[in-house]
C-alpha cells in the first residue's frame, strides 16, 4: 500500500561492498519457553524452519527463526504476513505464558553485500567477525558503533543487519562510510 514507507525508502550505495536497505520484512518478537512443543510447532508453521540452536538463525527465503536469548526468538516473515502470524501464534499458545508482538516497523534491515563485507562491519563492530567468530547461520547481537544491532550471514559473504528503525539512517551512513575505502585485508 502506498501509505507504507520503510525507514530508508530502500536506500542503497553500490560499490565493492554494497550497502542496501533490505526493505520490508515482517518481524515478530516471541518470548516464551522455547522448549515448549506447541511453540516449536507454531514457529515451524509460521516460518517453515526448525528451531535454531543457541545463537542460531535458520532461514528459508524471507522467513526464518533467530535465537535471541534463552527465552526470546525473532521470527522473520514477509511484511504483510506479520499480523496474521502473530494471530496464529496467539491461537497456538493460548493459555500458556508467552508474548508475541509484531515489531516489523520498529526495525530496519540493512544488507552488506560483496567483497569486504566483513571488513566493512569490522570498522564499527567490536565482535569477533572472523569466520570462526561469526560462522554462517549464527546471529551476533552486538553493537555497530553506538547502537545495538544484530548481524548474521547465511552464506558467509553477505551480511544482514537489523537495527532499530529510528537509527536506520545512522547505521546506513556508518556502513556506507566504512565501505568507501578498502579494509586492511585481515578478514
Amino acid at each position: 500500500m502506498s501509505n507504507v514507507t520503510s525507514a530508508l525508502n530502500g536506500r542503497e550505495v553500490t560499490g565493492v561492498t554494497t550497502i542496501r536497505e533490505g526493505g520490508f520484512r515482517g518481524m515478530i518478537t516471541l518470548r516464551g519457553d522455547l522448549s515448549n512443543a506447541n511453540l516449536k510447532k507454531v514457529c515451524k508453521a509460521v516460518t517453515g524452519v526448525d528451531m535454531p540452536a543457541q545463537r542460531g538463525v535458520n532461514m528459508h527465503g524471507e522467513s526464518g527463526l533467530a535465537w535471541m536469548s534463552p527465552d526470546e526468538l525473532l521470527l522473520l516473515v514477509p511484511h504483510d504476513a506479520a499480523d496474521e502470524s502473530v494471530a496464529k501464534i496467539d491461537a497456538a499458545l493460548n493459555g500458556t505464558h508467552y508474548l508475541a508482538v509484531n515489531v516489523s516497523d520498529a526495525r530496519a534491515l540493512i544488507t552488506v553485500q560483496g567483497k569486504g563485507a566483513r571488513e566493512v562491519l569490522a570498522r564499527v563492530c567490536p565482535a569477533d567477525l572472523r569466520a570462526s567468530g561469526l560462522p554462517k547461520g549464527e546471529m551476533r547481537r552486538t553493537r555497530l558503533a553506538q547502537v545495538p544491532t544484530a548481524i548474521w550471514t547465511q552464506d558467509g559473504d553477505d551480511f544482514a543487519v537489523i537495527c532499530f528503525r529510528s537509527v536506520a539512517g545512522y547505521v546506513f551512513d556508518l556502513l556506507a562510510n566504512a565501505a568507501k575505502t578498502p579494509g586492511p585485508g585481515l578478514l
Binding site: 543457541q54 545463537r55 535471541m68 536469548s69 534463552p70 526470546e72 567490536p126 565482535a127 569477533d128 551476533r140 547481537r141 552486538t142 553493537r143 545495538p148
Partner: protein, 109 residues
C-alpha cells in the same frame, strides 16, 4: 577493557557490549525493615581489594543480567553465572579458593 562470557549466550562479550550493575546478591529490604538495614541495602557496598561478586547486563546482546566473580586488583575473571541465584555456585567458590586461598566476601568464602 574487560571481556566477560555471557552465561546465557556463551559469547565472550566486549565491555562495550555490557553494562555494569554493581554488587551482586543484595537482599532487597522493604517496608518493615529497620532504617539501618534499608541503608545497608541501598548504600553500603562491598568494595574489596580482591575477590568481588558483581552484576552485569549483556545489554548490546541478549539483554540478560548475569553475575561475575572478578578480582578488583588484577581484573581476573573467575567465572560468570546465572543472575537467578542468591549465592555464588559452589564450584566457582572452590575455583576461587584454589587461586585466592582464604578469600572471603560477605558471608561467602
Amino acid at each position: 577493557m574487560l571481556t566477560l562470557e555471557c552465561p546465557y549466550c556463551s559469547i565472550q562479550a566486549d565491555e562495550t557490549e555490557l553494562h555494569a550493575g554493581g554488587e551482586a546478591h543484595l537482599k532487597r529490604e522493604t517496608v518493615g525493615s529497620l532504617d539501618n538495614d534499608f541503608e545497608d541495602y541501598l548504600f553500603m557496598r562491598e568494595n574489596p581489594k580482591g575477590v568481588h561478586f558483581e552484576r552485569w547486563r549483556h545489554v548490546a546482546g541478549c539483554g540478560k543480567w548475569f553475575h561475575a566473580a572478578r578480582c578488583t586488583m588484577t581484573l581476573e575473571v573467575f567465572g560468570t553465572y546465572s543472575a537467578q541465584t542468591l549465592a555464588p555456585p559452589k564450584d566457582l567458590r572452590e575455583k576461587i579458593s584454589t587461586k585466592r586461598p582464604g578469600w572471603t566476601w560477605r558471608a561467602f568464602s
